[in-house]
């Protein structure tokens, strides 16, 4: 019998997040799987159409409810559980959306969750990083239990398009809690590429000295078409907003090019970038641990080097 996998789509009501296409790639690593994508939304049509086009998706299930306007884990989880019956594996992305939701789903199912799946070796065997990526653990679930999982974004490419999966309305009648209410979301306006999917990322550390100091990075990033990230130290110091944090507890990314500027390279930061194809480190301290992982290292004053790079590529 083939393995049935349910993937919970992440979206903003209009657009499907790339994280869902990465979950599909994770699921497709197993031979002969049947993949369904669930879209929970107030109005699911647009997102369901996008999900149906992902290569490898067998069908799309929509659950429409005005209560699904905002992705509240407490509201989504019982609906996911209602859909989960026929599936042996229920996956979501290891983003703040998926991490918040899937563990609540696992709790309701009283099923084990495998967090941050980086490889799927069989329907019950998974590999995942622990200790900030300083060890890789292989876990095996028993075949008689449902398994919930979150998929590590940096480990999978997004599935391609061209699919034509049927879209079905799923009948879900469960009581939804009203104890949790969405108030607001405030995101800094950002015209730059998305940090989590950008091919090039430039990150700054505490050495930038201030939010103003980050301006030289934004300028270079715009020239290169890069996203901008930050170390925890820079975010803690208020030089950059929280959504820019790269590392164990921030975003874990895998760009083609990662440029670490004035970042010393604590293990927690390196966890977030170790899948980057090429790492460049620019730091005035030649002994900084970031140079241990950098493909290209440049020791010097970032306030001279960054504008100079920008001049050279203009």
């Amino acid at each position: 019998m083939s393995t049935r996998i349910l993937i919970i789509a992440e979206h903003d009501g209009k657009k499907l997040n790339t994280s869902t296409a990465k979950c599909v790639s994770c699921a497709r690593a197993l031979p002969g799987v049947e993949i369904a994508v669930a879209v929970l939304a107030a109005d699911a049509a647009a997102v369901a159409t996008q999900a149906a086009q992902l290569e490898g998706v067998g069908r799309v299930l929509t659950v429409e409810n005005p209560a699904n306007l905002h992705a509240l884990a407490a509201v989504f989880a019982p609906q996911v559980v209602a859909l989960a019956g026929p599936f042996s594996l229920v996956l979501g992305p290891s983003t703040t959306f998926g991490k918040d939701l899937m563990a609540r789903v696992a709790g309701l199912l009283e099923a084990p969750q495998v967090s941050d799946i980086m490889a799927i070796e069989s329907p019950t065997r998974f590999r995942r990083p622990i200790y900030a990526g300083n060890a890789i653990l292989t876990v095996e679930a028993s075949a008689d239990s449902k398994v919930v999982g979150t998929v590590r974004m940096a480990s999978f490419e997004a599935a391609g398009g061209g699919g034509t999966a049927p879209i079905e309305k799923a009948a879900v009648s469960v009581e939804l809690p009203t104890h949790t209410r969405f108030i607001s979301v405030s995101a800094a306006r950002n015209d730059r590429p998305d940090l989590q999917t950008a091919a090039r990322v430039i990150s700054g550390g505490r050495a930038l000295g201030s939010a103003d100091g980050f301006k030289i990075l934004y300028s270079l990033a715009d020239r290169m078409g890069a996203a901008v990230g930050a170390s925890r130290a820079a975010v803690d110091a208020g030089y950059a907003p929280n959504e820019m944090q790269v590392g164990q507890t921030g975003k874990i990314i895998a760009p083609e090019l990662y440029v670490a500027v004035g970042i010393s390279g604590a293990i927690q930061h390196l966890t977030g970038i170790k899948d980057a194809r090429t790492i460049v480190a620019i730091n005035k301290d030649g002994e900084a641990p970031i140079f241990e992982v950098a493909d290209f290292g440049l020791v010097g004053d970032l306030f001279q080097i960054i504008p100079e790079i920008e001049r050279l590529i203009s």
Binding site: L72, A73, A74, A77, T96, F97, K99, D100, A103, R104, V105, A106, G107, E110, P112, Q113, V114, S115, Y131, A132, G133, N134, A135, I136, L137, T138, V139, A141, S142, S145, P177, H179, T180, I183, S184, V185, A187, M224, R232, V235, D236, N242, E243, T249, E256, L257, Q268, K274, I279, V280, F291, D295, F296, G297, L298, I305, E308, I309, L312, I313
Partner: protein, 249 residues
């Protein structure tokens, strides 16, 4: 009584560079410094501040784990918790087991708020808070960077991928902490002495009526693949040149 329950975990200190055992059965923890999981320290700090503001009367700290965990409970008492609960359990404790144990403590203590770290820095699972909220059938607000109590509700600002999200949850609820919620206080020596006299109750999982079940077998631990050490370039021009040759600019 208005109580806050804080869950903590004993973990390898975040400054320790861990190594995998040569036989792949785990990581080396012998002689390694152990601490309260940093996110749990933030959870405790938040609970203490709420109590100091007069919005709670008692802070209870709890952990599930082997006998050694009592060291971390004592540290938590020294930080300012009023009493500690230790659920003794050996071996692998999965989030579901930890959450079941915490739920039993909730039923006994009836807290208005439960605060946990968003993840433990050893297994990096990031599940216990959400699993607990699910079993308890109460709200969850994960990755909190701001927490305001107002009567029967809490307003929580959460650090999410898009930016900052604000939720309102009815109490009691489970909150999990992110890094920027607060900066935990340092423990002072006289407080360590005082903490020795604070109550610490210990009981077994079995006494709570919980049978620990390990759903996931830990098959193999491996060190991660190492990156090749790169080259030093002398200036910006050489760097730009090298990146152009690789087609990265």
């Amino acid at each position: 009584m208005k109580r806050i329950l804080v869950g903590i975990k004993r973990v390898v200190d975040f400054n320790v560079r861990i190594r995998v055992k040569p036989d792949g059965t785990g990581v080396i923890t012998d002689g390694v410094k152990m601490s309260i999981n940093p996110f749990d320290e933030i959870a405790l700090e938040e609970a203490l501040r709420i109590k100091e503001r007069g919005a709670a009367e008692e802070v209870i700290v709890a952990t599930v784990g082997p006998a050694d965990c009592q060291q971390q409970l004592r540290t938590a008492l020294a930080m300012g918790a009023d009493r500690a609960l230790h659920v003794q359990a050996d071996g692998v404790i999965e989030p579901l087991t930890a959450a079941r144990a915490l739920l039993k403590l909730i039923e006994r203590e009836q807290p208005m708020l439960v605060i946990l770290g968003k993840q433990a820095i050893d297994d990096d699972n990031g599940q216990t808070g959400q699993v607990l909220a699910a079993l308890w059938n109460r709200p969850q607000a994960t990755y909190a960077s701001k927490l305001e109590l107002a009567g029967e509700t809490a307003r929580v600002t959460r650090e999410v991928d898009a930016g900052l999200e604000t939720l309102e949850v009815e109490l009691p609820a489970v909150i999990t902490t992110d890094l920027r919620l607060n900066e935990p206080r340092y423990v002072k020596l006289p407080d360590i002495m005082k903490a020795k006299k604070k109550p610490l109750d210990s009981f077994t999982l079995a006494a709570l009526g919980i049978e620990p079940r390990q759903h996931l077998k830990l098959v193999r631990f491996e060190p991660p693949p190492q990156r090749q050490k790169g080259v030093r370039v002398k200036d910006a021009a050489e760097l730009v040149d090298a990146l152009r040759k690789k087609g990265l600019l």
